[in-house]
């Protein structure tokens, strides 16, 4: 995140941003960057971009970087961020929106074969189905 | 060319002051309109408006303060309520509803005042003379 980034009106109101808004239905502009979402996120240590920065990047239109990020795939949809947000931003929906942006461009993130076999045999159905619901369209 | 006759009611605090500003700024507008100064747009009674139509007015304009700016807190909303229902009713009376207009014009909106008056005058001009028979 040290590289200079160009900010422009074109980027801030790009089609990608609109599509994300359509999928998620979230008004990201209510965010005032208190960071409570990141502070409360149980998986933030595993993320490359913390949730509050994700929202900031949506505000600035950096969707191309977000779709490359691991963050949406680390998110477990526990909704803690949404509940904690003082401004009513549904961050969890934004994460879902980012996953969908990737999945709808014909890219599947999950793969049964990648799972450790020993673990796979033990896993309850809800773990597997839950995971695939979020990683395969 | 048909010269419409337009009666207007302007609230003292906003629209009449806006009209004064248009004058002080030496803006010009169509002379077809003649204003009556009222304390508040809420004083304008539909009876006065129909009086105007009955006596041959081709258009009636009411000017009040913008919502939230009324000198009397809520008078402009009273005007709004009355005009909304009145527009519906005059349509049934066979008076074109566009002959009646309510506009919010503030004391600072001299320019807007002239634009509203000119635009309204032209609209009424297009509508032509109001048609009625005296009973």
């Amino acid at each position: 995140m040290t590289k200079n980034k160009q900010i422009s009106s074109h980027r801030i109101s790009s089609e990608d941003v609109d599509q994300l808004k359509d999928i998620s239905g979230v008004n990201v502009y209510a965010c005032y960057q208190c960071g409570n979402c990141s502070s409360a996120c149980p998986a933030v240590e595993f993320m490359d971009i913390p949730p509050h920065q994700v929202i900031r990047m949506v505000q600035l239109g950096f969707i191309d970087e977000l779709v490359k990020s691991e963050t949406p795939w680390i998110c477990a949809a526990c909704i803690t961020c949404t509940v904690k947000c003082p401004r009513g931003v549904d961050i969890a929906r934004v994460m879902e929106g980012l996953r969908q942006l990737v999945l709808r461009s014909d890219f599947e993130h999950g793969n049964l074969c990648d799972i450790d076999e020993k673990l796979r045999k033990k896993l309850p159905q809800i773990a597997l189905i839950g995971n695939f619901r979020k990683t395969i369209l | 060319m048909f010269e419409p006759r337009i009666v207007a009611f302007f609230c003292k605090w906003c629209t009449s002051a806006g009209a004064d500003l248009a004058g002080t700024s030496r803006m010009t507008y169509k002379p077809n309109i003649t204003g009556i100064r009222v304390m508040c747009s809420s004083r304008v009674d539909p009876e006065h408006i129909l009086d105007a139509f009955k006596n041959g007015a081709d258009g009636v304009l009411i000017g009040g303060c913008h919502p939230g700016d009324c000198h009397y807190q809520s008078g402009n909303y009273q005007a709004l309520k009355r005009v909304k229902l009145l527009k519906k009713m005059i349509k049934d009376l066979n008076i074109n509803e566009n002959r009646l207009r309510l506009e919010w014009i503030s004391a600072a909106e001299g320019k807007r005042f002239t634009e509203v008056v000119d635009e309204f005058t032209e609209e009424i001009r297009k509508l032509g003379h109001i048609q009625y028979t005296v009973l």
Binding site: S24, P42, V83, Q125, I126, A127, G130 | -
Partner: protein, 292 residues
Amino acid sequence: MQLSYYPGCTLKTDAKNFEKSALAVLEHLGVSVDELADWYCCGVCFSQTRDNLMQQIAPVRTLVKAKESGNRQLLALCTMCYNTLKRSIEFIKDDAEKMETIHQFMDLETTQFYGNEVDVVDILTLIKQIGLEKLKNSIVKTDAGLKIASYYGCMLLRPKEIAIDSPDDPVIMEEILASAGCENVYFPFRTECCGSYQIVNEPEIVKDRTRKIVGSAVKNGADLMVMLCPLCYFNLDEIQQDIQKEDKSFQTIPVLYITQLLALLMGLKPDIHDFSLHSIDPRPVLKMKGLL
């Protein structure tokens, strides 16, 4: 009281002990449930997209079945199912257009569902509804002296619209356990996520969470940890052993479904518990406390 019951996939397999103990507890409290004749997968994780109504078909199908059953209430034991079904209702209710679209996708279902005809209920709320006094009276082992850490997880508390209690500071499990004669242990991580389905992709997250959650419960002096979610259960029970392999100082704690504990306190026959399904064997503690 008559209500419909929706088991969901895991309660028929890995969480058999949850289903058996829950139904036994309810029966003991005088409530019988009708399992939906023909139920479908709930969809597991509620789709949070606004624009894709296809995702809602799975839960709506089940809700249609529930409406057809004629019972107003639908019990969902699995918290994932509870969350998905309840959020589906929130998403579609009062929106005729959405419902219309969803119905167009469903050829076999003839019943129209509008969103308000079925109440999805979880077992904690149901027990409170039956009455804490009644619960108290049904307890036979009143002097077990158990210190219990109640773990809520996410699905019953979030988002706010479907929360069964305060998302920040819930008390319903503690209330129930206090009525059942247990001592409650408050620990700061009782509402924090266990890592959920990320066990599949990123088991490290779950390990990290388990270490925090279990560690905190142990530190605050709990004998047992109870919960309701089969996925939390798997994550917190199964992973404890993995952590202990890496870190000998890590102290484990047995994990039970809250209904298992209630059944034991009610003196119901122990064969419903399937203790073999537990990774951390709770029997030593239970024996020590005189519950087995």
